[in-house]
């Protein structure tokens, strides 16, 4: 699959992005890594240009929930991205433990998956998505 890996507009951390890129490439996927502090407009533009099979948003600075709710709205507002799988993971709020409520909000806002720091669950999701994804066909 073609996968876009990105942080959020306010998050300057990058080791999480480097790790995810390696992890996804090891499973044979092609990764475009947008890096740190990605403004919403840049992610939307990159996604419209590349039409990826999956967008992975990773955030560990505690603002992931707020930034995620905002950017998913912008992504889903583009007709050509309405059906693109978009997932988010990392440390999504400052409290770092309040599960449940946030994930429901994020899914309701349009995310296809919410992963805390459970990398096994994320890998499983990607593997299932890849199975459904016909080789060579968008």
């Amino acid at each position: 699959m073609d996968i876009v890996v990105t942080s959020t507009s306010s998050d300057a951390h990058t080791w999480n992005l480097v790790y995810l890129q390696l992890l996804l490439e090891e499973s044979g996927h092609r990764v475009t890594n947008l890096g740190a502090c990605v403004p919403d407009a840049l992610l939307v533009r990159a996604a419209r240009e590349r039409r990826p099979d999956l967008i992975v948003i990773s955030s560990v600075n505690g603002h992931g929930r707020q930034d995620g709710l905002r950017v998913i709205e912008a992504l889903r507002a583009c007709p050509e991205l309405a059906g693109t799988p978009v997932v988010i993971g990392g440390k999504l709020d400052v409290a770092g433990g309040a599960e449940g409520g946030d994930a429901v909000d994020l899914i309701a806002a349009g995310f296809n998956g919410v992963f805390r720091d459970d990398i096994a669950e994320f890998r499983q999701y990607v593997a299932l998505l890849a199975q459904e994804h016909p080789v060579g066909v968008r």
């Binding site: 790790y19 390696l22 740190a36």
Partner: protein, 417 residues
């Protein structure tokens, strides 16, 4: 308020010579009263200390509206908003805090610090840190060329104060997994950039990495290069306690801090920026900072300068990178921009669009940081290379947590990104 007795750099060098290693926290609070309490607690700690005013992240990126909103609503910020508080509040906060034996530095992390420099000068301060590369590539999307221009103007503004002091952050790039020779080269190049833009009192940073012996060699290389290339500048070396994934046990965190203090003394550095036992979890309290300062001070008092460090090529690699960059242009800023374009400087695992991204570092079995891919770095004949495939995701996690594992002990292994 002027004169050499007020210079951050001169005071640190004098204190280090008479009282031993100067230790400094990374401390910043939004509330001026709490910021003042933090500075006073730092000053009165049982150690030779320098004070820190760390700014919040809205001020760092120039979002003054967000600062004003937060201050108006009484919301907390993750540092001291020196621009938003204005010169009168900051001068009152500092009144009676700074003494001839207690120098104060402003820390920020901005790729465009012009507004910060203006604000700190107005408040009567003139010591800060950063650099056109080190505050651009790891933490921002600002084009390097723009950061170079911003920093040139900021340096010139800062240098309008005759006692101004500026520290390079280049020796701390990425926090971890950057081979020491590149850290040393970037620190020196940022120092040369500062000098070109008017600074005459400069400190050069180096962050503790994974191998005490290699760190000692790196600081010796840095000291030698400063003597060779910045002989006309008043300077000192500042060590940073490890900046990567931090030990989670209190004992492990304390041992790593003590090791960094010993490194600073063995290698002849004048100053140390400490970390606390709370570092792996949250922003530390004033008391946790004071405990870290006192522990570092005690560890430094128990260490003594080392004889010459073994030479495994850190100096030769750093010198080769610096020479290749300086040959491009007599203007250090232009040389830095072109140096990154050509890949003469290329930071492993740095995702910034202006970084070539063709190099890789890796840990060897003894814990030394070496090159696995050198890309276009001009160190083909002297690189400390190890062979093998680039790291897998699992090996990356292993390398990122090497220090945490080493200091916490084998049973405390955990992975946090």
């Amino acid at each position: 308020m002027s004169g050499p007795e007020r210079s951050f750099g001169d005071t640190v060098v004098r204190l280090a010579a008479s009282h031993g290693l100067v230790v400094q926290p990374r401390m910043g609070f939004a509330d001026p009263r709490r910021m003042r309490r933090g500075l006073l607690a730092t000053r009165d700690a049982d150690a030779t200390t320098a004070g820190t005013v760390t700014l919040d992240s809205y001020t760092r990126v120039g979002d003054d509206a967000a600062v004003r909103r937060a201050l108006a609503r009484g919301e907390d910020l993750n540092g001291y908003p020196i621009v938003g508080h204005g010169p009168a509040v900051t001068a009152a906060m500092l009144d009676g805090v700074a003494t001839p034996d207690f120098p104060i530095q402003v820390r920020h992390g901005s790729a465009d610090p012009r507004h910060i420099i203006t604000a700190l000068l107005r408040a009567g301060l003139d010591a800060t840190e950063g650099g056109p590369v080190s505050y651009c590539l790891p933490y921002s999307r600002t084009p390097l060329r723009t950061a170079v221009d911003n920093w040139a103007r900021a340096c010139e503004r800062l240098a309008s104060s005759p006692t101004a002091h500026l520290e390079t952050f280049g020796g701390c790039m990425m926090g971890q997994l950057c081979p020491p020779a590149l850290l040393v080269a970037l620190s020196v190049l940022e120092g040369l950039f500062f000098r070109q833009h008017g600074l005459r009192s400069i400190s050069l940073s180096y962050a503790q990495q994974t191998s005490p012996a290699q760190d000692e060699e790196a600081v010796a290389a840095l000291t030698r290069l400063v003597a060779e290339l910045l002989p006309d500048v008043r300077s000192h070396v500042v060590i940073y306690t490890y900046m990567g994934v931090y030990p989670r046990t209190a004992a492990g965190a304390r041992r790593l801090l003590a090791e960094s203090a010993a490194l600073a003394v063995r290698a002849g550095a004048a100053r140390l920026i400490v970390k606390t036992t709370a570092e792996a979890f949250r922003i530390p309290t004033i008391a946790e900072n004071v405990a870290a300062l006192e522990l570092a001070g005690a560890a430094a008092a128990g260490a003594s300068p080392a004889a010459t460090a073994a030479d495994t090529g850190v100096y030769a690699q750093a010198r080769a990178m610096i020479d290749a960059v300086l040959e491009i242009s007599p203007d250090v800023g232009a040389a830095l921009v072109a140096g990154f374009e050509r890949g003469y400087l290329d930071v492993p695992y740095c995702l910034h669009p202006d970084n070539a991204g063709r190099t890789r570092g890796a840990l060897d079995t003894t814990g030394r940081l070496r090159w696995r891919r050198i890309g276009a770095l001009p160190i083909g004949d002297c690189a400390d290379r190890i062979t093998g495939e680039p790291m897998t995701s699992a090996e990356l996690i292993d390398a990122l947590s090497y220090v945490e594992r080493t200091y916490d002990g084998p049973d405390r292994r955990s992975v946090r990104l």
